[in-house]
Each structure stands twice: as structure tokens, then as C-alpha cells.
Symmetry: C2
Subunit: 110 residues, 2 copies
DNA sequence: TTTAAATATTCCCTTACAAGAATATTTAAT
DNA sequence: ATTAAATATTCTTGTAAGGGAATATTTAAA
């Protein structure tokens, strides 16, 4: 889940949300976020290395867009928590039972 | 998406993954992660304040478990990227067309 | 053929934050 | 009544990483 730490940075998260609506150049991204071009480039570099975005060079412009893979991965990871949001059966009860058993064993030793 | 920055810390991510399989005490978590109890407590505090986990006090034990809400939120956020992983239509083409139009306009002015 | 635009890179500085150590607090055990 | 176990909190320190400024590089424009 390297992706998560990369997206932890607010500007990078924002960039990703911008690109959700389609590709953009570095300048456009910097403008929309209200940050300097040089910072935008840096963040885009990190996003590139994490394979979250990819770039297409057109003359002196760089057009960035999202790559799907990492999002799919994140989705798979999140899927593994699906059982949690059935709040119905709460494993806490089970756990408490186990705890009680342990306590009883201890009691018997005495 | 506060959740993302909280989960960016490797130990916290690990804790969440541990709790996926059911509730655990602080001591158990610390043991599994191979970190000191004091660090585990700190990370659990952050996770609590982010409402990612909740705690049940039994005597001098604290049993932590996941809360579903934040995961649901993350899922909703991730849903908003679903259109991306249909790689079929790539908005890059559209963007390039727009660029070309701009270039032509410039050319005509000359 | 110089100048301007778009982007990337490097260096420095500052700040946020995780780890360590020590200690406090609550409850259980003896 | 003491001692031990489980957990939380506070203080300090070291470090990773983001922002600023300056500059390099590539391509377009005049």
C-alpha cells in the first residue's frame, strides 16, 4: 500500500482528484491548486514513481493522467475489509468469551 | 480523506490489517507488530481520534476493534474513480484534440 | 537567432512526527 | 497491603519530506 502514503500529502491527493476529470498539463494543475509550478512538478514526479499517473510529452508540455492499476489494487485491499461493514456480527463478543475462559483457567490454578 | 494520512504510517496500517481479523488488546497488537507497548498506545490513539478504531475497556485491558464508517467513506471516494478503470476510452485523445484546436487558433492570428 | 513559455532539478531550510525513555494510573494478583 | 500487569502520557530528540528560490533544459514564437 505504498499508494496510501503517497496520497497522504494533501496536494497530491488534490492532484489525483483533479485528474479524475481528465488529463491536465503541469501548468494547469499548478494553477488549479494554487501552487508553484516547481512544486507541482515535484509532486507529479512522486505520483509518477508510484505509478499513479503517467505522462505524455507533447512538445514542451507534459500531459498527466491517472493510471488505473493502483486504484484497482487499493480497491482489492479495501475489499478485504468488507466483512467489517456488516455491523451485524461483532467479533468483540467472541473475543470477550475467550478472555473469560482464560480468566477461569487462571482461577482454577489457585 | 483524513483517513488516508493516518493510514500512511506503516505501523498504523499494520494495526488496521491485524484488526481486520478481529479485536485485540494493546499488548497483543504490540507483540504482533514487534513494537513497544508505548508506541502501540500512541498509534492507537491516533487511530481512535480518526475514528478508525474504537475501544472497550475490560478491567485493565483495552480491546480495540475497527469501526466501519471510515472504510465506507473510503470506499465511496474510491468509487468516484471507477470510470478510470475502464481503460477503454481514454480522455487523453479528447485532450489532445482540444490542444490542437488551441494551436490552430494561434496559427490563424498570424 | 533571440526571446519567451513550459517543465524539471538541485540546494537549502524548516517543520511535523515517530521513536525512545521515563513515569503515571488503574486494576489484578498474592 | 504490596507487588505486578496493562495501558496511557509527557518530554526529548532525530529525521524525512515539503516548500522556497534559483537555475537548467527543451521547444515554440517573434
Amino acid at each position: 500500500m505504498k499508494m496510501i502514503s503517497v496520497l497522504a500529502e494533501p496536494n497530491r491527493l488534490h492532484i489525483v482528484e483533479l485528474l479524475r476529470d481528465g488529463p491536465l498539463t503541469v501548468g494547469e494543475i499548478a494553477e488549479q491548486l494554487g501552487i508553484r509550478q516547481t512544486q507541482a512538478s515535484k509532486h507529479l514526479r512522486v505520483l509518477s514513481e508510484a505509478e499513479i499517473v503517467e505522462v505524455t510529452a507533447i512538445a514542451n508540455r507534459r500531459i498527466y493522467k491517472l493510471r488505473p492499476e493502483r486504484f484497482k489494487e487499493l480497491n482489492t485491499w479495501l475489499e478485504s475489509f468488507r466483512s467489517i461493514w456488516d455491523e451485524r456480527f461483532d467479533r468483540l463478543d467472541d473475543y470477550l468469551h475467550k478472555l473469560q475462559e482464560k480468566e477461569k483457567k487462571h482461577g482454577n490454578k489457585k
